[in-house]
């Protein structure tokens, strides 16, 4: 594992470069195929509304996959991620228009631990509302 960020170069409070991840209906169809999660709430508007959702929603695991990119882009080596957890607090609603939705992700170093490991706390929002809670990663730096 060779993270390009050195443990000695980061402090508690160091911010990771924030990212925006667009998601539209085509994104969800593609993710369904790649992940094998074909739950119709992620592609069938009629079904989503029948079960009480406002519209088609993104896979929670899609949002989780995007959020960790803030960390893996920062370290360079995705293998530097030692632990990663999230709570799915609110769905990402994806309308059938030419815009879709945008997931905004930020992260900062919340603690420096032993063995060159840091804890990164992530924030993920869509339309200004938090979509992930308790979103944290342990990352081993160089």
């Amino acid at each position: 594992m060779t993270a390009k960020i050195a443990y000695s170069d980061v402090e508690v409070g160091t911010e990771l470069p924030a990212r925006s991840f667009p998601v539209d209906r085509a994104t969800l169809v593609r993710y369904a195929g790649a992940s094998g999660d074909f739950n119709p709430i992620h592609w069938n508007e009629r079904f989503a509304k029948e079960v009480g959702l406002p519209d088609v929603i993104a896979h929670g695991m899609f949002t989780m996959a995007e959020a960790i990119r803030v960390v893996t882009d920062w370290t360079g080596d995705p293998g530097a991620v030692v632990e990663y957890g999230v709570r799915f607090t609110r769905p990402v609603v994806v309308p059938d228009d030419d815009k879709g939705a945008v997931i905004e992700v930020g992260g900062k170093v919340a603690a420096k631990l032993d063995d060159h490991t840091v804890r990164v706390d992530l924030t993920a929002t869509c339309g200004g509302q938090k979509v992930l809670g308790m979103s944290r990663a342990l990352v081993r730096l160089a």
């Binding site: 594992m1 929670g60 995705p78 293998g79 990663y84 709570r87």
Partner: protein
């Protein structure tokens, strides 16, 4: 209907091996729009110290969730899967999943709770490679929302 507490601690037999294909990793990385070369370029992955291309951190969920499905659909447990939503998800990695891995999952029910009419199920999936080495552990919290009163 509250779930049976006696299921806590129950471990299910290991799944048949899932072979991690490099093109499946590529497909997943493209689906999440991630161009990191560690997922698609063997030389780039080797330069980072990995023996072959690695999978994005959440890739393994497809395997552990399928294994968890055997638990969720256990008729004796009696969970109403049509009302299930994903509450929490966590992974702890010994090493990244990589192309060529043959992975088995052993699922254990860690907790069964009932809160405000919702059934909450915590499942731990231990993922091992063909050599029996531990690769990653996945924790999945599923919430079966209370049925609406008729």
């Amino acid at each position: 209907m509250a779930l049976d507490q006696s299921f806590v601690g129950r471990t299910y037999p290991p799944t048949a091996p899932y072979e991690v294909g490099r093109e499946k990793i590529r497909e997943f990385a493209e689906a999440v729009g991630d161009p990191n070369p560690a997922y698609t370029d063997t030389e780039a992955a080797k330069a980072l110290g990995h023996p072959d291309v690695i999978a994005p951190p959440t890739f393994v969920f497809a395997i552990t969730f399928k294994a968890a499905g055997e638990v969720v659909q256990d008729p004796q447990l009696g969970l109403d899967y049509s009302r299930v939503v994903h509450g929490d998800q966590k992974f702890a990695y010994v090493r990244p999943v990589r192309a060529g891995d043959r992975l088995t999952v052993t699922s254990t029910i860690e907790a069964v709770k009932s809160m405000a009419g919702n059934d909450i199920l915590d499942i731990r999936g231990e993922v091992h490679d063909a050599a029996g080495e531990h690769v990653v552990t996945a924790w999945t919290k599923l919430v079966a929302r209370a049925a609406e009163e008729a």
